[in-house]
């Protein structure tokens, strides 16, 4: 039942975009002008493409994010049973979190968290 509802929600979202774009394309004006198709940058014609190299710093943060996001996923099942596990659960998860924090501390020490 829930899965079917999820499909209904997805279809609803796609239908919203399709319907609004369809209406907009029907009633909006259309004029052709060569200048209109240019990239909206600063007024003078764009030089070259924008599909090029960019700062590596973004990639570094994505890698760090991956590490901690997988950690969050692993922690969710544990969070549900923490009441039953009691102190044992607390101690075992502390090891897990300490290892992760060591990773964060390493990245911090190496300067990966600085924006240069």
């Amino acid at each position: 039942m829930n899965l079917m509802l999820f499909v209904v929600v997805l279809i609803t979202a796609v239908a919203l975009v399709v319907a609004a774009l369809g209406i907009a394309r029907l009633i909006s004006p259309r004029t052709f002008n060569r200048q209109k198709g240019e990239a909206y940058e600063c007024g003078i014609p764009t030089r070259g493409t924008s599909w090029m190299q960019f700062k590596v710093g973004y990639y570094l943060f994505a890698i760090l994010f991956l590490m901690f996001d997988v950690e969050t996923v692993l922690l969710f099942p544990w969070a549900l049973t923490v009441r039953d596990l009691g102190a044992a659960g607390l101690i075992s998860i502390s090891f897990f979190i300490v290892i992760l924090v060591l990773g964060l501390a390493y990245a911090w020490k190496k300067g990966a968290l600085e924006w240069k």
């Binding site: 079917m4 929600v9 209406i23 909006s28 990239a39 968290l113 924006w115």
Partner: protein
Amino acid sequence: MFDFSVITQWIDQLLRGVMPDAAATVVECVIIGLCLLLGYSVIALALIYVERKVCAWFQCRLGPNRVGPFGVLQSVADMIKMLIKEIIEIKHVDKFLFGLAPYIVIVASVAAFACLPFAKGLQVLDFNVGIFFLIAVSSIGIVGILLAGWASNNKYSLIGAMRSGAQMISYELSIGLSILTMVVLSGTLQISELVEGQADGWLLFKGHVPALIAFVIYLVAGTAETNRGPFDLPEADSELTAGYHTEYSGMHFGFFYLAEYLNLFIVAGVATTLFLGGWMPLHVPGWEGFNQVMDYIPSIFWFFGKVGVMIFVIMWFKWTFPRLRIDQLLRLEWKYLLPINLLNLLLMVIVVVYELHF
């Protein structure tokens, strides 16, 4: 307290009485879709109006006051304007990805919107892993934003999208961890159970110190997640024109605009559900008369009232703090919020294991 499932069951029986089961299911699906769309667009329009009015009051202006009484129809007029604007075809874009990006952004925000419990019995998606599902679908929106910036073939869009991606994935961690902290306290992932469990006090009061820290972190991270307020550097207009949606025009742009306001609503809605009891009235254990009086206020008013307060607070941030730089933004997340969050998680586990909560 009035339960909305009475209405849904009545409609279900009515439909099954006049047509075969399969047809009734299809009609119900259509009704659910239409209600969802109606709620989605009405909330977006209302939020756009509220944002303008609140912003105007903060700056000692009047705000929109021409279209309709007190300007309430201003955002409707804006929507019509957006529909009749030309959708400009840009020459150098990657056409397929450029067209795909608004779909992803809208799908992510509608799916997250459907998870919110608006009132007792009024919730579309109620998975047993509800809150986990909500985090998962709402983070798909980042993909749409990255696609929009990359496909535009525009330097401003590229930088805006990359900043936006770095910011949103970073603050995603804080959102995930602060939600995790509350899951430890409540012991369930299902959103309806989360709300039901707060009948004897909202989680913010039950969890006292760690819950309060998680709440503050959630608010900061939620504001960053919606690219708003002091964290609006992906679309810092003075440096990047409009960030990742620079090349989008007309209704194409409208989708990003819509999704942005809906994400604000979703962040406020999740804050309400997790910390402030969702649609649950304010109950104090032991005060029977007080609890009875509070139960007379319908649950839908409780939910929208709390969400309204949260939205006002997030708007307040926007007009109070100046915009951060990207290095300050990343430092705040990785060097302050994340370590505090991990410590706070352990603190919450101690509180739960040794039964120190209320």
